[in-house]
Symmetry: C2
Subunit: 356 residues, 2 copies
């Protein structure tokens, strides 16, 4: 995947970005309308509202709503589910940033740096609980069968995401350096792909065509491979940006993943390619607590990654995954509505072409 140079947005791109914003705003509006107005505002609902107001582009709601429209549904029918997925994403971010000892998110200090770890853990819990509560309260129009199926999707989404997070954190804790690309992809599937890609599409299609899903005419598992390929390409690109990006555009600290010891595809590749002396130096570095890791050491890791072409290796893997995603997309979204399908095609390009 070659990262393109910044270019003026074409008319098509401009239209895509406007539609992306509309979808994201639709979900955000639901969340802000449903946010509890009672106490405690200062310690719970105020920071939650602020976090939603300053949230990202709404990739997950956009994917969900566009899939719903592609399969002939109305975005209004899916906007609660889209809002819930966005709220869960924010809940994960609040806890992830504590777990990863991150400092910055969306161009400002992470919630736990601003409000302290105790309140931030509790606010993340509150987001998770509110998400599921909103979901249940608002499934009425879908009917009990479809409503229950939507909640099943969210159940699975939570299970996979938490299991994936456990793998990532556990590998760091045990200082695992023996992880294969397949281990990485398994973790990536669980941690990222299900909640960010596969389930948004499954839920969008389910809400659009509940009867076809019930009869078996539409099999939601058809989205799984596409969502995995696209999600893994996205996650690898995100990991690459963390190494070679600039903080202003990326919004998080650069090289943070190396400080955190994250088991990325690049780190796995370095572990496999490095000579014995480098391996033991790498292992010693990763054995230290994050706060004891120096900038020089992080630069050494990055230099070794460059020496062994680990970033090119990861980009090649992302390219392969993206090519596989494009093939799957053409099959899974064949014969769906043209405008949302075109949006989703641009969505793929957008995800993997994010600027360094």
């Amino acid at each position: 995947m070659t990262v393109p140079k910044a270019q003026p947005a074409s008319a098509a791109t401009q239209g895509f970005l406007e539609q992306l914003t509309r979808y994201g705003d639709q979900a955000r509006k639901v969340l802000l309308d449903k946010m509890p107005t009672g106490e405690p505002q200062a310690y719970l609902y105020g920071p939650m509202r602020d976090y939603i107001e300053t949230s990202g582009k709404g990739l997950r709601p956009a994917l969900l709503l566009a899939t719903c429209e592609a399969f002939g549904g109305k975005a209004e029918d899916a906007e609660i589910a889209a809002a819930v997925i966005e709220l869960l994403h924010n809940a994960f971010l609040v806890h992830d940033d504590i777990e990863d000892l991150s400092d910055f998110r969306r161009g400002r200090e992470c919630m736990h740096k601003r409000l302290g770890v105790p309140l931030a853990i509790n606010i993340g819990d509150g987001m998770q609980s509110l998400a599921l509560s909103l979901l249940r309260q608002n499934l009425g129009p879908l009917g009990p069968m479809t409503g229950a199926r939507v909640v099943d999707e969210f159940d699975h989404l939570l299970k996979e995401s938490i299991e994936g997070q456990a793998l990532e954190l556990g590998w760091i804790k045990d200082n695992r350096l023996d992880l294969s690309p397949s281990d990485y992809l398994t973790m990536c599937l669980k941690k990222t792909c299900w909640y960010s890609f596969i389930h948004p599409m499954r839920i969008g299609a389910l809400i659009a065509r509940p009867d076809d899903v019930a009869s078996g005419a539409l099999n939601l598992d058809d989205f799984n491979a596409f969502g995995f390929f696209l999600g893994a390409a996205f996650q690898i690109q995100d990991d690459v940006l963390n190494l070679v990006g600039s903080q202003g555009k990326y919004g998080k600290e650069i090289g943070g993943d190396i400080y955190e010891g994250k088991r990325t595809l690049m780190l796995g590749r370095l572990g496999a390619q490095a000579d014995r002396q480098e391996q033991s130096r790498l292992s010693e570095f990763l054995e230290k607590p994050r706060t004891a890791r120096s900038e020089q050491e992080v630069e050494w890791v990055l230099a070794r990654m460059n020496h062994y072409s680990c970033i090119e290796y990861a980009q090649a893997a992302a390219n392969d995954l993206l090519a596989a995603a494009r093939r799957e997309f053409d099959v899974v979204f064949a014969n769906t509505n043209a405008a949302p399908r075109a949006f989703l095609g641009q969505f793929m390009d957008y995800l993997v072409a994010r600027q360094v």
Copy 2:
């Protein structure tokens, strides 16, 4: 409330303790049977299972199951709900111990001390998510109406508990010393009483008599005052034990609440009674990060609490609440089944007579 000396258990007490254990084991067995057997065991389900196996007496499941039986229901019909409430309790404890910087729980190191904060946060998330998933999967026998009402109870339980926790943590963060007994009781209602007392009874009665609840013949709100009085008496007693207990029996560190700056009734009383010099010394102490608080300072706080009879004050409040609880109990549980009602009467005595 006078804390009684240790005595040999009478036959009645022995019977009560055996029944308490049976109820607790019934809920624990459900949880252990339903615990996922897949991966990741080492980083997620293994520690979760271990935490459940070494969990406390199961006060909440016992209250739920006994109330169900008192109102003519079968404990089997309520055992999933009892298990879910126990799992949520454990989820809260894992996160609370991180938020409070606690070191010990149930006579051993807290989960985050053994496995690290990142895995512990994620395991708590996993418990919360698994709890709600178990609940949904197992409401079938109750029918859709009652099943949905049970989930509504859990929705409210989570909302109140998280709001109460936000208050407690926020007051510590902002170093609030202007809190009244009414502020304390509001926090206590939200943080403790709903999930530990009121909802277990409401859910037990709802499962026993769904038709009476639907028709209005049984009003679940009748449990609210009783649960509040009993829960507040329990929480105050717990806070007192934290100050005057011995670690071996109590299972947590003694005086930990002072190190944590918890806004207990005793601390509020001290803030209100202390002279200006003491107030400013207290405020300075509470302004420091926990790790900077010395044993001498904690002892000074405790000595000032003794000087102003803050512990006696709290015990008197707990006694008043307990007397109110007893009066409510006689009304709310009038004409219910004798054996579970007798158990619940002993349950009240047991809660507030816990040994120092």
